[in-house]
Amino acid sequence: MAAAACGGGDDTTTTGASAGASSAPAAAQVKVGLAYDIGGRGDGSFNDAAAAGLDKAESELKVEKKELEATQGETDAQKEERLRLLASGGYNPVVAVGFAYSGSVAKVAKEFPDVKFAIVDDDAAKGDNITNLMFAEEQGSFLVGVAAALKSEKGNIGFVGGVDVPLIHKFEAGYEAGAKAVKPDIKIQSKYLTQPPDFGGFGDPAKGKTAAQGMYDAGADVVYQAAGGSGAGVFEAAKAANAMAIGVDSDQAALPAYADFKDVIITSMTKKVDVAVFDFLKNFTTGAVKSGPSVYDLKAGGVDYSTTGGKIDDIKSQIDEYKQKIISGEITVPTS
């Protein structure tokens, strides 16, 4: 460890090159470096999904892992140092979780041409050794929008976004399009918990609860949340209002952490970051890593809707109809 700690030294490029050469795919032990976005492992959402993929790779592919977390208010230079530290410490491949790493990955990947990098949720960082793990969040959100519209008795549904950023706009746009495809005159309430650079909206259940409560009070009976850790508050509000909620990222009705709320979670839009991370690591061990964007959409099974609890079994066939139309390209879901 001490050697790795000193690896942040100045001869980064040479260290990186030798590290890359020594850990060619299928070599003795693959050491995976993973850099989280703010929140890190244990955020019950996006970062945790990446962690699940890494854990699976650890047990199935026998890779060694090292995880580093981001700190609040850090600069790009500090993100770069984190990636550099991993790459120069002999970690290859290096996975960066979240679009916040976009600029940093682009820069550091150039310094370590023999190390493979992957970045989740970003296609702006381009390079021969960069794989962009992209998701069609709008397609999955379209399907839960369909579910919300079909399940709503009042013709009034809600959307709670964690932070007002383009990525979350994709969830909202898909949800809205899905709901309107079923009921063109449906009323959709929408609220973002915080504005960037305040990313607190991804980790503040109290804010999520207040926002959702307001929507239920104003006549909504289904609320979809794309709000990370704040989602728990949305579920709480749904339970208190005896209404319905829709989860995000993981199949949240099946998560032990949300066991109290499984009665109100009718479905979840699953975004399989774990699958994408695992696939990437698996490809690495078999030497089949492809650079550039890998799109995880409905067709590839990268996004989907969950049926745990059987609350939407009655409308499943209708949702699947839309699913087929999206896969076949008959319906194009807007992203903003």
């Binding site: 208010g73 410490g89 007002d164």
Partner: protein
């Protein structure tokens, strides 16, 4: 005469000793508490501190520490200007972010070429920061609104306003990140190869930070304005009695604090990221509050505090490699601030008690003297 000289010497000696004692106690206490926390968390404190020392002495880390330290220091100065007058400018955070958004938007538009663009960006940032802070100053003077409340609220408004400016006016979408148009290459602040043995350049704004630190000291200690500011901070009524316009002082101080705050984002904007995006560092204003407390509003003390803070922040990755949770850094920072406050308070009280003892000894002495005289 002897008594006076003794007293004078004693005070000097005591002062010198106390001046060293307080920070030493604070550091020792912080190390102790952190070690206990590390032990409870199941990590080896010796290993942790050795790693920190290793990290902090590498040329590359030093350059990194200076680069973040520059922003922290400017932020601390902005806060300290207000502190010296008992004005709690909690709004430094909103002031620098709004200033950075507007300045980045203009800089990205490249209205003027090259160095002129740097000057324009900086001047605009200073003006926006100053104006935003002036709102709180005016509210305090004309409406009696506590600047603590108004600046906190203005922070929230600045967030919304900045977000609106980026998404509706300046924003360009790259991947999933929304940011202003990058400032063209000819208007980048050049770095300085200050630290030997590393390719990492030190942000050119370090010069600005040093100049600001010196200016802070000169203005406060060597100008009439500085005197009036400190006087108003010590006693408003006394200041009024000696002809100081407190209202004017409040507005001017807030404006100055905001103007300095406007510069906080400049090292990052003109020296590193060249744009304001969702990824721009937030919360530096609050870091500044902690560092101003840590450095006791002293320009040198705050510089030490800013470097210490930056060192701890930057070493978080290294600690994580040892499987030490990054939260330990925040614990250390919190403990350091508390230790400094407590240590100075203890030393201060010790000084008061010592003073009282000395006074009572001196009061007792003359009573004995006449007796001796009478006996003779």
């Amino acid at each position: 005469m002897n008594g006076f000289v003794d007293r004078l010497l004693g005070r000097v000696r005591l002062g010198g000793w106390l001046a060293v004692a307080a920070p030493v106690i604070a550091v020792a206490f912080a190390v102790l508490i952190t070690s206990v926390v590390l032990l409870i968390a199941g990590s080896d404190p010796v290993e942790a501190f050795t790693t920190l020392a290793d990290y902090g002495t590498q040329p590359r880390s030093m350059a990194m520490i200076l680069n973040t330290g520059v922003m922290y220091y400017i932020s601390a100065l902005a806060v300290a200007v207000g502190f010296r007058m008992n004005l709690f400018n909690i709004g430094v955070d909103g002031q620098y972010r709004l200033a950075a958004v507007v300045a980045a938007g203009l800089g990205g538009a490249a209205v003027v070429p090259g160095v002129l663009n740097i000057v324009l960006v900086v001047v605009v940032a200073v003006i926006v920061g100053a104006l935003w802070a002036a709102i709180a100053g005016l509210l305090r003077v004309y409406r009696g609104v506590s600047e603590v409340i108004s600046t906190i609220m203005l922070n929230a408004i600045a967030t919304g306003l900045g977000s609106w400016l980026v998404s509706e006016h300046f924003g360009v979408l790259t991947g999933n990140d929304l940011g202003t148009r990058p400032i063209p290459d000819d208007a980048h602040m050049p770095g300085i190869p200050l630290i030997a043995g590393t390719p990492v350049l030190v942000n050119g704004f370090i010069v600005v930070a040093v100049v600001l630190g010196v200016a802070y000291w000169v203005v406060l200690n060597r100008t009439r304005f500085g005197f009036e500011l400190r006087a108003t901070g010590k006693s408003e009524s006394a200041a009024v009695a000696s002809g100081v316009s407190v209202k004017k002082m409040i507005v001017v101080t807030m404006v100055m604090s905001g103007a300095v705050a406007g510069l906080i984002g400049m090292p990052e904007l003109l020296g590193a990221s060249y744009k304001y995006s969702n990824n721009f560092p937030a919360g530096l204003g609050f870091t500044g509050i902690a560092i101003a407390l840590l450095g006791r509003n002293n320009p040198v003390g705050m510089a030490v505090g800013a470097l210490l803070w930056s060192f701890l922040d930057n070493s978080s990755n290294q600690l994580q490699l040892l499987d030490i949770s990054k939260e330990i850094v925040q614990i250390m920072q919190g403990v350091v601030v508390l230790s400094v406050i407590i240590a100075y308070e203890l030393v201060h009280r010790y000084r008061i008690v010592a003073e009282q003892r000395r006074v009572s000894r001196e009061l007792a002495a003359p009573q004995e003297a006449p007796k001796a005289g009478a006996a003779a």
